[in-house]
Symmetry: C2
Amino acid sequence: MYVIVVYDVNVEFVNKVRIFLKQYLNWVQNSVFEGELTEAEYNKIMSHLEKIIKKSNGHILCYIVRDKKYLKIDEIGTPKSEITNFL
Amino acid sequence: MYVIVVYDVNVEFVNKVRIFLKQYLNWVQNSVFEGELTEAEYNKIMSHLEKIIKKSNGHILCYIVRDKKYLKIDEIGTPKSEITNFL
């Protein structure tokens, strides 16, 4: 499954979410990660994020396609440098 | 086609992008819009956003699926109030 995660959390949780997601997905924009996940990895991420969200009254959306072939990605411009340096 | 637009633009362009996208898509998170578009609407949005990005060295990603049936959306938490009030 190919997953896109977008999140809006209080500033004190931003790094925590970023460092956690970086273990599984690619950081592509300020609050956006994407990449291939197994079902088990996805469930693990979701349960961890749920704990964070409960503490931070944030908001997370996950867009999932069974196979990346169903997804077309268009890009305009380039990601900010802190993203490319973090990779 | 179902489209998810995520954007990272300089602060002076944020409202411009938001007001523009609101004409076509649903605002679901801080810098995230989603919704159904025709090919013509999508092309119109992209050419407009390209002009904004050239001025603001921002970054936009568009995730497109031909049909929403290929997409599963999971949500944790609730969007911030300024989003629900803006709707």
